[in-house]
Assembly symmetry: C4
Amino acid sequence: MSKNRLEAFSDGVLAVAITLLVLDIKVPDPATTTDLGSALGHQWPVYVAYVTSFVTIGIIWINHHAMLSRLRQADHAILALNLFLLMSIVLLPFTTSLLSAYLRHGHGQHLAAAVYGGSLLVMSILFLTLNHHILFPKSHLLSPQLAQERRTQIIRRGATGLAPYTLATALAPVSQYLTIGICAAVAAFYALPIASGGSSG
Amino acid sequence: MSKNRLEAFSDGVLAVAITLLVLDIKVPDPATTTDLGSALGHQWPVYVAYVTSFVTIGIIWINHHAMLSRLRQADHAILALNLFLLMSIVLLPFTTSLLSAYLRHGHGQHLAAAVYGGSLLVMSILFLTLNHHILFPKSHLLSPQLAQERRTQIIRRGATGLAPYTLATALAPVSQYLTIGICAAVAAFYALPIASGGSSG
Amino acid sequence: MSKNRLEAFSDGVLAVAITLLVLDIKVPDPATTTDLGSALGHQWPVYVAYVTSFVTIGIIWINHHAMLSRLRQADHAILALNLFLLMSIVLLPFTTSLLSAYLRHGHGQHLAAAVYGGSLLVMSILFLTLNHHILFPKSHLLSPQLAQERRTQIIRRGATGLAPYTLATALAPVSQYLTIGICAAVAAFYALPIASGGSSG
Amino acid sequence: MSKNRLEAFSDGVLAVAITLLVLDIKVPDPATTTDLGSALGHQWPVYVAYVTSFVTIGIIWINHHAMLSRLRQADHAILALNLFLLMSIVLLPFTTSLLSAYLRHGHGQHLAAAVYGGSLLVMSILFLTLNHHILFPKSHLLSPQLAQERRTQIIRRGATGLAPYTLATALAPVSQYLTIGICAAVAAFYALPIASGGSSG
């Protein structure tokens, strides 16, 4: 099976998921809002979560592209694993919305942060699983061939990438701000020029 | 007519429909929620329905790809049948939402399950109709040609695939859990490695 | 300018617009619904409007494909006219929703039908304008060249196509059912096999 | 890295964002509306904002296409800058919705207009930044090469394009109608035939 429609479908799902994030930014109801400035300012967690999740999905897209660019063709297992990866990414508009709704709330804030960090962790694990599946059991589908050393290096770097999301999830019971801060830092690290050499998933 | 834009349009519709499923997972209202954990736990039917429908649409996409990959070009009847197939798939975010809203409800649960199972059954019938139309009346559009035996085999396997959805719909008056269980089992069967050889629609 | 991204962007917009139609089919609120069957039956105008608009956008897509397939490349005027055409198509989820909300209502039903029919009429006029612009002032961008006779024939057929939407809009003050009936008949005519030879917009 | 998936992903995001604008046009609630005509007329700011934002995103798409068409391939910095540009574009359904909700309101109307104008200004600045990055530091990725004079001319024209959005934002405290008027005029200028030669962003 050619990988063209796999790329097209994945691009489509990622494009819709990243754009749906904006639906979480609500317009304050004119009927009940007396001070628009403070109402807009009050929902700052929404903006932080929007930017963090947008950049995160964007980076997943870049890395997803790098991962598939090594493939010559796809098989059923790759399609199925990719489907589960997309399923975890499509959840992000929900977990982002959950986090921004509870970030400054008196209760539920720790659970919401754990769900948010956990969803990013699950997504990273599925990404690593698919990448491993492509690089090792299905290495005959790679084009051009990659030395085992190089493949091991890619997986090792991906595994290291799990650490911050594990930490972000584990620290949710301590402080929801730590969770979002770590997730935002990961997004910034990969998006800023300093990581130019580090985005090959 | 070339089949490229047919693939692109179908991919787009499937990508949007599969992503809209996440809109059904609602954030519990912070103003009225006293226990976020139990509120999130309480809506487990939503997660079950999300996963089932997501995997189902994903498998449709894989099979749709296999179906079109046999075509050299498309004609008006193929475009029209494909349009009706897409129309049934785009309904899934609605029937999924209906099922998850009523699954544990005191009334309407059987009807909601019947609508859900029925929408998957209709979708399967339209898929089989289009596949039959491509493989038999329009077999001159196939590339490369397929032996009649092979074409009959594909249709026969597709027809067998109608059985579980017929059963799921028929059992809705008995138990809504049977319906969702059968539909989830079908999704799992096709997504898991064991069915690697069985996804060629 | 190559026409590839023009096709890709148009396909994307049409795919999103056609899929957003499903958001108009609402799940009856479990808290206030005592009879799900009659609640679902009661909203039959929603299903009629969904099917009519879905098939209509699908046919626009088929015709849009035929229109662009004649082009070798695009210029600014074609991009701009196509943008206005897309703007009218993207309105359909709104006018569809308006029609289905007011179809059986005691008041506003005629206006809602006029807005619905009118939006289809405007869309048809913009489609014809773009097609005329491609076939006449920009005929040097066609590939292969078409005889003037053939081009005149295409425009004439498109102009005839305006008649039913004009009629549907004009009859809205008489009966909203006439409006939706005519629009549904147009959709059925183009989608059914009988019109196989008539979809080259 | 090839630029094909960059174009496909950007096209997808722009197509979804432009289509989500229609969700801002609400159907007046049949239960509380006594005069549909005046209810639809009353929300004219929604239509003005819809048309302005739709045409604006459409023009961004045309210019984005022209910008990428000069590239032979993309690097990490281009991907990252493009991601931030998309993030500002995806905000437009929100800022459009904010403007149309407050345009005729007794308070908040100036702030809403400033946010709307400001979001277009930020988007223009990010567009210019990406275009400058492509034309100067990464000019070796261009294909074919462009004379420095021509590249300077493109950037200069883009910089001039910032003026109306700066003005629109600065005048928001004076009148929200000036803001939307200037933004609509910019959209009309680029969309109408007169600007045919001026869309190469």
